[in-house]
Every structure is written in C-alpha cells, then in structure tokens.
Symmetry: C2
Subunit: 370 residues, 2 copies
C-alpha cells in the first residue's frame, strides 16, 4: 500500500520490499506456538497484512540516519561496466563502490530488523485490542478476530502479541530501546483511556483531541523513528529530531484516518467507516464544525446517529453539514501543517535515498484515498 507507482521510482523501494518481507517472515517465526489453537488465531492476525508503516519507519529512518552507505545513490552505484580483475575479485585500485541495495544493507543492521518486527507486533496488538474496543466488523477487508472468535480470544491474542513484542525486544539487551518501547506502550494506553473517558463528549477541547492522537497513534510512530536513528548510532539531537518527525507524521496520519472514517467509502478505505461516530469519538472535522454558531444542528444529528443505526439520509446530511462548516478542509489543513513541520525536521539529515523516502512517506499521508 505504501509502495505506489511513485515509490517504485525511488531507489529505496526494491530494498524496502525485501526488508518488509523479512519482517513478515520473522514475525511469523516469532509468533509460532507449540499449541495449534494459538497458531490458528495468529494466522488471522497475519492475514491483516497491512501497510507496515511502523517497520518502514524504523528501517528507513535507520537508513536515513546511518553514516554507512549513505549519499547520492547515483554516486554510490557501481559504474556501468566496472572493471573486474582477472581473478574475479573487484579491482581494488578502483574506489570501493557498491550497488545502492548493498549500501542499504550495510546501513541497516539486524537490530533494525528485529525492532521493525517488535514495532509491527506492538501495532498489531493495538489493532486486535482496538477491535474489542470498537466492535468493528470489518478490518482491512477481512473479518475481525473478535467477530470470528469473540472478545475473549481477541483480548488474549492481543496480550500474546504484546508479550512477544517485549520478548523479542529484550533479546537485544539494549536498555534504552526496551525503555522506549515500554514508555511508548504506556503512552498508547493512556491515549486510548483518555479517548474512552471523553466518549460522546462533543464539546471536547481541540487540545485534548490532539493529546489523544499524539498518545494513541503518534507516540508509536515517533518511537519507530527514534529507535531507527538510535540503532544507527545517531546522536541525541538527530534521534530527538527523528522522533519529532515520527510524531508529527503520526498525528497527521491519524487526522487523515479519522477523516477517512467520517467521509470515506468502505470499499475504498478497506475497513468499517463511521465507527468513530457510533462509538462516540469526537474527531477534528466534527469538533471544528460543532464549535461554530451553527453547530447545534450537527450536534443534534450526531446524537441521533449515535443512538440509532445509521440512516443513509442522516449520513448525507452529516457530510453536507461538515462541508458547509469547512470541517474537512480544516482537518486537512492541520494535517498539512503537521507534515510541513515533519519535513522541516528532516533538514538536519544529509540528502540521500533514505531522507528522500522519508519525505515521500510524509507526503503520502496526505494523498491517501477515501
């Protein structure tokens, strides 16, 4: 999903595709149990597939902040017709040059790959537990786990995923990383609990909305980038900057995700829409329109929609009121501002394929289809 036609032109794309396949293989291997009943459940989660945004952030930030194998891919690529010596070894009198894909491999270590897997497991755990929360019946085009097996299996499987994430993380013996992962999951839980405690609070402060999405979504993206940089040996300043990049991208991502739920079509978005409303979640376009003078009408409509199953006429009216109050435009502008701030954080990095791909990823958040 992240690797569109445009991405394929970027030199990182082929490498990343291979790396993400490696993450999938490792994930599968790590989650394997002696118990058949556990493997059956894990299979459902693996079938989620998904965008692999979190491992991508770990790996590409690792690449972008590494001092190994960076630089202009054209410069570092082996020149066409490079001279090999008669004994089959490269001619050492030529400057050492590698294909970009080899350079990327040197920049990104097995520790990056392990943490990429840890962060995807952590994310999958939140998805599985979110299904318990949301009573969603559709997730990424497939049935959710809880609709197949009940809430109890979903709770335990989410626990199994997060437990394996910590187990894999502790195999690295890197305290800074272990603490960062646990601090982040703390933040994610706090974000979810803050959201729950504001259920059906249609007068939610915009600041609290931003605090919720920063904790529940953006903190994990920020941690992915910080960890990628830390594992590349980046200094504290670069690592902090990468964390801010991830947080801002994550916040923009969640704003757009909320827009997709509110304004999108299920067939395009690939998961249930209008779930936020049903579960009483206030999102940015709603908050913007609700605080306007004509907001009472929208509020009445929302309360009706929360109380009873969605009526197509209600949905049409909802979209009309949001368009009229410029709720969608407002949310998109906030997302764009965040992406611009995220891009500014990348300026400290040397130019090269890693930074270029991070720029692409940030821009891609704004062009998701719904």
């Amino acid at each position: 999903m992240l690797l569109t036609a445009q991405a394929n032109d970027l030199p990182v794309a082929a490498w990343l595709r291979t790396e993400l396949e490696g993450v999938r293989v490792r994930l599968h291997r790590e989650l394997r149990s002696e118990l058949a009943c556990v493997n059956n459940l894990v299979r459902h989660v693996e079938a989620f597939g998904g965008k692999m945004l979190r491992p991508t952030l770990v790996l590409v930030t690792g690449l972008a902040t590494s001092t190994v194998g960076l630089g202009d891919p054209v410069r570092s690529a082996a020149p066409a017709g490079a001279v090999a010596t008669g004994n089959g070894h490269p001619d050492l009198r030529q400057p050492m040059m590698a294909e970009p894909i080899v350079a990327f491999d040197q920049a990104v270590t097995d520790e990056h790959r392990i943490l990429a897997t840890v962060m995807e497991m952590t994310h999958l755990a939140t998805l599985v537990h979110d299904d318990v929360l949301d009573e969603s019946s559709v997730r990424r085009g497939g049935a959710t786990l809880n609709s197949l097996r009940g809430n109890e299996a979903a709770v335990m499987l989410g626990d199994y995923l997060i437990s394996h994430a910590y187990r894999l993380c502790s195999s690295l013996d890197r305290q800074w990383i272990a603490e960062m992962v646990a601090d982040t999951t703390n933040m994610v839980c706090e974000g979810e609990l803050l959201q729950l405690s504001n259920r059906e609070n249609w007068a939610l402060d915009e600041e609290v909305y931003f605090e919720i999405i920063q904790r529940k979504t953006a903190s994990l993206c920020g941690a992915c980038c910080a960890i990628g940089a830390e594992l590349s040996g980046a200094g504290e300043q670069i690592t902090s900057g990468m964390r801010r990049f991830g947080v801002k991208v994550g916040m923009a991502f969640q704003i757009v995700d909320d827009l997709m739920d509110l304004m999108g079509e299920e067939s395009i978005v690939g998961k249930s829409v209008h779930r936020d409303l049903v579960k009483g979640k206030s999102t940015l376009p709603l908050l913007h329109v609700l605080q306007q003078s004509g907001g009472a009408r929208l509020r009445g409509l929302i309360e009706r929609m929360v109380a009873s199953p969605a009526d197509p006429a209600d949905l049409q009216e909802l979209r009309r009121l949001i368009a009229q109050g410029r709720g969608e435009d407002y949310a998109r502008q906030r997302a764009e501002r965040l992406i611009n701030e995220a891009l500014a954080e990348l300026r400290v990095l040397p130019s090269g394929p890693g930074r270029e791909f991070l720029e692409y990823l940030a821009g891609r958040v704004l062009t998701r289809k719904y």
Copy 2:
C-alpha cells in the same frame, strides 16, 4: 490473607508485612499517570488488594536462597541486653549482630522489591483481562472494573498494567530477568487461549487440564521464585529448583481455586463462584467424575446449567454428584501430591526462616477456606 495467626509466629512475618507495604507503595507510584482519568481507573485495581502471593514468592525465595543474612534467627538476633558504649554507639568490641529484620533486609535487595512489584502488576493485568474474559460481576468482594466501566476500559487498563510492568522491569537492565518475564507472559497467554479453545469440552483430557493450569497460573508463580533466586545470586541448579517449587505450588493453588469456584460459598471465597461452569471451563473434580461410568448424568446436568441461569436445586445436585464420584477428594489429593513435590524441592536450601516460610506458604495452599 496469607499472614494468618500461624504465620505471625514465623520470624519472617513482620519483615514481609513491611516489604509488601513497600510493594504497594511502589506499585501506586509507578502506575501514577499525568491523566486524572487513568488514575481513577488505577484506583479500582489497587482496591483489589489481594493476597500478594506473587511478590511474596519473589521476596521470600530471595531470602531463602540468599547467602547473606541467613541462618537461625535466634542466633543472628542481637542478644538481650547488648552493651552500648557511653557515646551511644554500639560497642564494636562485641561481635556485630543484627536484629533478624535487618538480616532479612540485607538478604533481599531493591532489585527483589522492583521485581516483586513487576510480578504483582503482571498478575493484576491478568486479573483485569480475566474479568473481560469471565464476565465476572464480583472480584474479591468489590465490583469488577468491567462492570463499572465496560470491557473497553478493562482491556486498556490491563494493557496499561502490563506495559508498566515491562517498563519497570526494563529499568533493571537485566536481560535474563526481562526474558524470563516476557517468556512467562507468553506462557500465560497460551494457557488462556488453550483454555478458551477447550470451552465446553467436557471430555477434556486431564493432561490438557494440567497443561492449561501450568501455563496460565503456575508459570507466573514459577517465574517469581526463579527470579527471587536469580537476584540472590543463586546458581542455576537452585534457581531451577525454585522455579519447579513455584510451578508446583501454583498448580496446586489453581486446583484449589477451581475447587473453590465449584464447591465454595461466595461469602467465604470473596468472589463470584460457579463462573467456570457458566463459561464452559472443565475443572479437575468435574473431569474426574465425568470419565466415570455414571458421568453421563453429571454431563447432562452441566449442559443444562451452562445453557440457563443457575437453579439452586441444580447446584445441590451438582455437589451431590461430585461428592458421590469423589471428585473433590481426587482434586485435593492431586493438589496435596503437588505440594509434597514442591516441598521436596526445598530440601536443597539451607534451613532457616526463608525456607521455613516457603514451607508454610506451600502448606497454606491446601488450607484455604471455601
């Protein structure tokens, strides 16, 4: 609850009471959030109170396996009428002697206290998620979290607890311990999932029942003892032995817990009873009677009880059939055999107040009231 009149006679009791209060204080401090809504939920969990069996196992195994401050408490106690010098300092010409409580303090380190807190948090997380699983309406005499705030808050609060447990654990920078904790939570999840996949399987193999309780309950008790020993610098052999001790005590504990649910009175047990049956969980007394020639009658009764709310006459008939098939006796004998095996594991330890208290704890499992 663990510290009965009998325990109060043991020299460890006063020390342990202080230590467990310290665990409660640390738990409270670690779970504190910037968000009021989170603190409100955490308060419910702290009110569970509970037996503190897991921290007790960490601390007392730590004491029993330490080479510091062990030995006969009478011998190490300061002799009555110890001579103080005129300047108020103890007379250094006297051999250095400490009150037993000081000796215990030297044997058990702050690492033990941290891990005692980690293991209690982990256990609390499983209780909170178990309430989602079990739809129990009563837990330790108070309302369960999910009945107060819904399943969604219970899922997230359990995640918050486990996440804080891992965070606190990683503060130690001890890889062996971090891996042990995560391996154990993996096992607990597998046990819960194995149990779920055998719901309403009244022909469950006894071996599978033992595998379920070993994973879901006993593995955590085993880890507590192994961690206590590891942190005391015990060798691999002692640490493994202590783990086996904890596993066997944990299994016996769960067998008795299952008996309490099946045969106990809610007012004595302090939490909902007959929940296992309602949720389709096969437990040892049932399995024993069901596989007898007259088991069909019990099976019919169970199926009726699972399908519709409990009828007092059904409950009476259930107890009668279990008594007739000697289901309770059988389960108690299995628990007793496990406790004897557990006690045998303690023989490698030097005699002293730590070992003595572990022996007391093991015996106490069999005398729980229901």
